[in-house]
């Protein structure tokens, strides 16, 4: 069965966007313009990325172009994290460090141990999965940890006043933040296959891969995302301890919470 999508097929699928816009018009939601802009923007972005990827991951091109692409993704992801949680101090540098650490761990395992062959065609999508899926957990961990330290400042200072080092005084709040950030991913992992078919697997099956092969790839992707979220969140939390406490174990003044 040929499952490739033609340009005509893409044009027909725009009917689905029209359905969404039509519902907005019918229910007077006033979102028609936003829906159309979002769909157009997504399409243009995807076409541009597709064109760029075609160039970057071409087998005739050096793998360094793919690494450069990955580096760009890490940097961009850090700026997105910073934008999403401006109230978390130093999030740009911390998110960059955490995504880089997660890349080293996950790509190191997957390519170092030859789970996938190291080519542009594997490197770029895997790194994209890793960054994209750990973004929410990263922002959540940073935000939750900062909120905890701000809201429980009295408690934290009571611990410091008992002679606890900043790392020790922060431990309960680090745990709470990491649990909050990791639990959704753990729940998603548990529900995979039962409640929903994840994107990578669905895409592979649509593209004609056998279900078993699609499942194996999806399982690896799930494990990749688990490791990436655990790594990014712990790096964020430990990095924040260094930034939110002074070397002489004082808690710095924390900015007021943003509306979120």
């Amino acid at each position: 069965m040929n499952t490739s999508v033609s340009w005509l097929g893409l044009a027909v699928s725009l009917l689905l966007v029209a359905v969404a816009a039509g519902i907005s018009w019918w229910q007077r939601l006033g979102l028609q313009r936003q829906i159309l802009i979002a769909a157009a923007r997504a399409l243009v972005q995807l076409l541009l990325v597709g064109a760029a990827l075609t160039l970057v991951i071409s087998p005739h091109r050096s793998i360094w172009w793919s690494w450069l692409w990955v580096a760009g993704m890490l940097g961009y992801a850090a700026t997105v994290a910073r934008r999403r949680a401006p109230e978390v101090p130093h999030l740009l540098t911390l998110a960059l460090a955490s995504f880089t650490a997660a890349a080293v761990v996950t790509l190191g395992v997957l390519f170092g141990l030859h789970v996938f062959p190291l080519t542009g065609r594997t490197l770029v999508p895997i790194a994209g999965m890793m960054v994209g899926n750990s973004m929410t957990a990263t922002v959540l961990a940073g935000r939750r940890f900062t909120d905890e330290l701000r809201d429980k400042r009295d408690e934290v200072e009571a611990r410091l006043a008992l002679g606890q080092a900043s790392r020790q005084a922060a431990t309960p709040y680090v745990r709470s933040a990491l649990r909050a950030a990791l639990t959704p991913q753990i729940e998603t992992t548990k529900a995979t296959g039962l409640v929903f078919l994840p994107g990578a697997m669905t895409g592979l099956i649509l593209a004609g891969t056998t279900p078993l092969q699609a499942v194996l790839v999806q399982a690896v992707v799930m494990f990749l995302v688990l490791a990436a979220t655990a790594t990014t969140t712990v790096v964020i939390a430990l990095g924040l301890i260094r930034r939110l406490f002074t070397p002489d174990h004082r808690l710095v003044p924390l900015p007021a919470p943003a509306d979120h």
Binding site: D154, E157, A161, L162, G163, D248, R250
Partner: protein
């Protein structure tokens, strides 16, 4: 011979949001008895206390503890020598024993019970969830938790401001008892009557200035 001092403040200034919370404060807090720092809300009393265990640092000037400049001391060791009880009780999750163990994880049950007795709390409360204690009990548990670190000096930041008359009286009696056993107490309060009841010497702090030398005013 001059009386030994616990803390010396040498032209200490603390600024916050462009305002001088403490302004060129000069003081010598004696090592003996209870020193009360009184003054209205917002006068800078809490800031003065927080400088003593380096939860804050001055923008100008220096603070010395028993002759040593605070920034030359290990802050973690300093905080075990100079304990602090905050205005609002801050119980940690878990039982009373869990709370005391935060201060001294290796303490035996016997030591924990002794700490409770020292603040006139029933040692039988050890297993109770700390958050179920009454306000007065909670504040004394926080005092016991601080005492577990065996401090030489105690900083008390309006510890009875939320307590009724009876628990307030119990807390004051406990504090006097600790002072009688050689612990230096620095007690911040805006309650003048309480200041007169508990103080061996009183400082007045107003608008960031420590006014006058310590008075000789003492308990009747």
């Amino acid at each position: 011979m001059s009386e030994p001092t616990a803390f010396e403040f040498e032209r200490v200034t603390v600024r916050r949001a462009g305002r001088r919370v403490l302004d060129q404060v000069v003081a010598a807090i004696p090592a003996a008895g209870i020193t009360v720092v009184s003054g209205p809300s917002g006068a800078g009393k809490t800031t003065l206390l927080r400088l003593c265990n380096r939860l804050e640092v001055p923008d100008e000037g220096k603070v010395c503890y028993r002759g040593q400049q605070l920034d030359e001391l290990d802050p973690l060791m300093l905080r075990r020598r100079v304990g602090m009880v905050f205005q609002r009780p801050t119980p940690f999750p878990g039982s009373v024993a869990d709370n005391l163990a935060v201060a001294h994880p290796d303490a035996s049950t016997k030591e924990l019970k002794a700490a409770l007795k020292r603040v006139a709390l029933d040692p039988g409360l050890l297993g109770q969830d700390a958050r179920t204690l009454s306000g007065g009990e909670l504040q004394r548990m926080c005092l016991a938790r601080t005492l577990v670190t065996q401090p030489e000096t105690l900083l008390l930041d309006e510890p009875t401001s939320a307590l009724d008359a009876l628990p307030k009286q119990v807390f004051e009696t406990t504090a006097r008892d600790l002072a009688a056993h050689g612990i230096t107490l620095i007690w911040v309060t805006h309650d003048d009557a309480q200041a007169r009841r508990v103080a061996d010497q009183i400082y007045q702090l107003r608008d960031g200035h420590l006014t006058g030398a310590p008075t000789e005013e003492a308990r009747p």
